[in-house]
């Protein structure tokens, strides 16, 4: 790879400084616009946006901002990890991949920032009273947030601009920058979450809603669970979007070399997405538990009230994600010499996945006509009723996770034949581990129909532990097992049917839609409260809309998001001179990355809304 010129430290600092200037200008403009609008417009508790619903306006902008923010916070996490892998394995392609990730990041920052600024203005203008209250309450955190934004802008831009400068012996300094980017990003996320979670589960205020303890208000019931949940989800989401980007590049690729490169990138992206996705349900379970603890009423309206219907939608989305990821892996087997040896397992795995999906999608509340109900003998079907409860669904989802894991392990083994002397024994132990986990999952699943619910809840822990243990055993054996294994042939990167790329788009779209839907539920369960149980939403939009209406808004947001992302990535691609994947030097810096700089900062600014926004509106 030819590098024209390695940029100097001066150029790197200059690029970064441009970012700082942009964010300074953005913040100043936001402040002045918000101030000007507030003083020109007549006093009000709520305002509408030229007749357009203020709730929907804030919802759309907040969710878009949140999606971009999730992307720019999630991607550095695995860009950094990929870079470390590159250093550890000394393989140049990992470093190139990490650089490619970071380039996308740099592009997305600008838009995140702009959306954040717009959101902030919308908050101040459309919800002046609530915004006034919240910003008064959390004054110190706002200042901290601004400082963090500047810090993030500086480290993120340095990380990007010094990529080629800090190579070789100086790589460790670049890794340090990568670490800093992630620490800063995480801190930003945590601060932004304060505002959202306070609205969900207020604490630290007295009966008259005056601040008593800022720390209690920050460390409310849902703060930490949401932090962790979002951190994981950001990585999964970032991975899915990166994979979708690689898929577009793959479909557009002119040369085999390019195809191979983006096929590999798509694979890595989807792998990251799925890997981060697996622990998400556990984080979600923790969050749900904290919600119940904060207010059982809120928990019940989340799981048992009208929102129960949206969980069926969620089940459908997640089932689809499982199918799509297995589909992608199996198609990928086609480009691995020797992969055909494992085709025989596919039929069994597909049966488990489909039956699991069917059980999972069986509604708790069955929709039936009068005649059908009479035939069933009530609103419960004696047989389907068994599938409607949590015990069956936990069992199904654990088996689906196990199957997907198994799929991936077969993929890993695709072109390799173990050569160690204990290979047969090893494989038998692995098979036993999987079988044992499946037996534990099914056994507890059946047993849980015969015990009281309080005991039953504990069973899901055993089921999950069994699956995790089997995974650990499997991997622990697999690593030495494949050491020095004989390779049947090299993976033929790039030789995968185009429909596999559509599976990657499906993953990205479904993740995004899922994020929009879950955000709506989180926000929606506050019902007609701005701050749950404390400050009522007194606007005309305080009602909870129909599910049909909400899903349409979520869909519109997702479509807008993909349009924006396409625009951003199209720009990124334009500066990517085709033959040379690493067009370092002057050109790159000033145009593409530049724009990026601006964004970062902004990203942060808007965040408050991100969270808050969604709720304000949605909730009503």
């Amino acid at each position: 790879m030819t590098q024209a010129t390695t940029p100097s430290a001066f150029q790197a600092v200059k690029g970064t400084y441009k970012g700082v200037v942009k964010i300074s200008l953005m913040l100043t403009a936001t402040y002045l616009i918000a101030q000007a609008l507030s003083s020109i417009l007549p006093a009000a508790d709520y305002r509408s946006l030229f007749g357009f619903s203020n709730r929907t306006a804030v919802w759309i902008v907040a969710e878009l901002h949140l999606m971009f923010a999730a992307f720019v916070l999630g991607v550095p996490i695995f860009a950094f990890i990929t870079e470390i892998v590159g250093v550890a394995t000394k393989e140049r392609r990992y470093d190139d991949l990490a650089r490619e990730f970071t380039k996308l990041l740099a592009m997305a920052y600008t838009l995140t920032a702009v959306l954040g600024c717009v959101l902030l203005v919308l908050f101040i203008v459309l919800y002046p009273k609530l915004t006034g209250y919240l910003s008064g309450l959390f004054k110190p955190t706002w200042l901290l947030y601004i400082v963090l934004i500047f810090g993030e802008v500086i480290v993120a831009y340095l990380y990007w601009y010094t990529w080629d400068l800090l190579q070789g012996a100086r790589k460790k300094w670049h890794l340090l920058l990568g670490l800093l980017v992630n620490l800063w990003g995480t801190a930003l996320l945590f601060v932004a979450d304060i505002w959202v979670t306070f609205m969900m589960s207020p604490a630290g205020i007295d009966d008259a809603n005056n601040l008593v303890s800022l720390w209690d208000a920050i460390n409310n019931h849902t703060w930490m669970p949401i932090n962790i949940h979002r951190l994981l989800a950001n990585v999964a989401f970032g991975g899915a979007i990166v994979a979708a980007y690689a898929a577009v590049r793959f479909l557009n690729a002119k040369s085999d070399e390019e195809k191979a490169r983006f096929d590999w990138m798509g694979y890595v992206g989807s792998f990251i997405a799925i890997a981060a996705f697996i622990p998400l349900p556990f984080a979600g379970y923790w969050l749900g538990r904290e919600i119940y603890q904060f207010s059982e009423q809120m928990g019940v309206s989340m799981m048992g009230g009208s929102f129960a219907w949206l969980w069926i939608l969620q089940a459908m989305l997640i089932g689809g994600l499982f199918l799509a990821s297995n589909f992608y892996l199996w198609l990928g087997m086609g480009r691995i010499p020797g992969g055909e040896r494992y085709n025989k397992f596919q039929i069994g795995m597909m049966i488990v996945l489909t039956v699991g999906f069917i059980v999972w999608a069986t509604p708790r509340s069955i929709i039936a006509s009068g005649a059908e109900m009479a035939a069933m003998g009530g609103s419960h079907h004696p047989f389907l009723g068994l599938f409607g409860v949590m015990a069956a669904k936990n069992t199904a989802v654990n088996l689906m996770i196990l199957t997907t894991f198994f799929s991936f392990m077969l993929y890993r083994r695709g072109n390799r034949i173990p050569t160690v002397s204990w290979a047969t024994t090893g494989k038998i132990v692995q098979a036993l581990a999987i079988a044992a986990a499946a037996a534990v999952v099914v056994g507890y699943g059946i047993y849980s129909y015969f015990v009281p619910s309080i005991t039953r809840i504990g069973f899901s822990v055993y089921q999950v532990s069994a699956v995790l243990a089997a995974m650990a055993v499997f991997v622990a054996i697999d690593i030495p097992l494949l050491k020095g294994a004989k390779e049947i042939g090299a993976i033929r990167w790039g030789q995968i049917p185009a429909r596999a790329q559509y599976a990657l788009f499906f993953l990205a779209v479904s993740f995004t839609w899922l994020m929009g839907l879950m955000g709506y539920i989180r926000s929606g369960i506050r019902q007609y409260w701005h701050v749950y149980g404390r400050i009522m939403d007194e606007s005309a939009n305080a009602y909870t809309m129909t599910h049909g209406h909400a899903t349409i808004i979520v869909s519109v947001i997702v479509v807008i998001f993909f349009l924006l992302v396409s625009a951003v990535f199209a720009m990124a691609t334009r500066y990517d001179s085709p033959p040379n994947p690493r067009p370092v030097g002057g050109g790159d810096g000033s145009s593409a990355a530049d724009a990026a700089s601006m964004s970062l900062a902004a990203a942060s600014l808007g965040r408050p809304g991100g969270s808050g926004g969604a709720q304000v509106e949605a909730k009503g």
Partner: protein, 254 residues
Amino acid sequence: MVRWTFYIALVLWLAILVGLKLLVRPPMPVSVLMIYMTLSTLGILVFVAANEERFQAFVAPLRSVFEARAPKAVQALVLAGIPLLIGWGAWLRTAPSWDAPFEPRVVHPEPPSAFTSHGKRIDAAALKNPLRVGDPAKLAQYTAEGKTIYYQNCFFCHGDALAGDGHFANAFTPIPANFRDVGTISMLQESFVYWRVATGGPGLPKGATPWLSAMPVWQDMLSEEDIWKAILYIYEGSGSTPRTWEEEVKHDKH
């Protein structure tokens, strides 16, 4: 084998449809059948498409029809059959029927945080069955009294076996709850059951609509104690235990 992928898939699909339709007794509602068939179709298609060889074998017969290479009779059958199938589906959807309309509803409507019973405001979260005492003799006595109350009041609809099949059961839509079903009272806390008994059908929240429950407002007819006794009996009699959250309380954060 792979050569026949298309036909195997078709036969499998039909077998699933027939199996679900004929083998599941009592018959499952159309809404559920739709979900199951959609997912089965998806599973079959994804499986077929996940391997290049299978995929090519699958589309080969379709190609031969649409590229006019198949025998004329087969082409005519497919090209005429598809519009006919679609037309039949449309007719099924629009044909008038005597059936009552669908009633999508939430099986367990969300309870309010507080409700009024016997002229008192009751905090649902803190509500416990005061008669569920530790003393087995006393508990047995309350349960026995509850049985009497059950037979004097509830039995006519909820039935002798507590299975929701009393004499009047079929006069109602929805029909009364079956306490022996794992999805009913054994999933619920006693406070929830008390709320449903005390406030009846009229006490249901709007979020549970349309719900035409015929359950009377028992607080107008039974005392608080009587309701609790009857609740003791329906759990005892149906062999279930109420759901509790007690374990969770210990983890309370603040």
